[in-house]
Symmetry: C2
Subunit: 108 residues, 2 copies
């Protein structure tokens, strides 16, 4: 059951879920720690994690009573590749790209 573009894009359409993915970019996290910054119930965050897992964007592994969440970049790459099929990236938006790089301090 490889995740569909439907599932991937739908998962990415929610700001809470995108925030979770950004958090997991730093490091793997337990469900409770993922939920901590959000002003919603743990159960709600748990549901978001299920959606992200079904989309293939993260994986979850239970060790003891703690369930660890891990980013899985392949799914996002699938979506990215679909976008690239539009073949319009020769005119990539360099301003936005530069802004992105600076915001993320990837340049010294």
């Amino acid at each position: 059951m490889t995740p569909s573009l439907d599932d991937i894009f739908a998962a990415l359409a929610d700001p809470t879920r995108r925030a979770i993915l950004s958090m997991l970019l730093e490091d793997d996290m337990a469900v409770t720690d993922v939920a901590e910054p959000f002003e919603m119930s743990l159960a709600a965050v748990s549901k978001h994690l299920v959606i992200l897992t079904k989309a293939g964007l993260i994986s979850q592994e239970k060790r003891g009573r703690v369930k660890w969440c891990k980013l899985e970049p392949d799914a996002m790459r699938t979506a990215s590749i679909w976008m690239q099929s539009f073949g319009q990236f020769e005119a990539i938006n360099l301003d936005a790209f530069e802004e992105y790089l600076q915001q993320n301090e990837l340049f010294g």
Copy 2:
């Protein structure tokens, strides 16, 4: 009102809408012609086009009684740039990146 990532990803999450975008990659099209291959009402397709327009993925221009639909790649670029951070830049257009670096004389 610049479209949000919410709007863009939500718009991309539907297979009908992705198919419409692929069709518009070929050429600009009238609403009736966009709707022709789909087994749903014209009104339903018209709604999809509204969603794509609000997401900034297409634009619509009325000439006479015909409304023409045109692909607008900037919105997809916005989403693509957001996604790049999750793939360690493997999927980015390296030619564009190199051009960017040279234009800004960050290389010798």
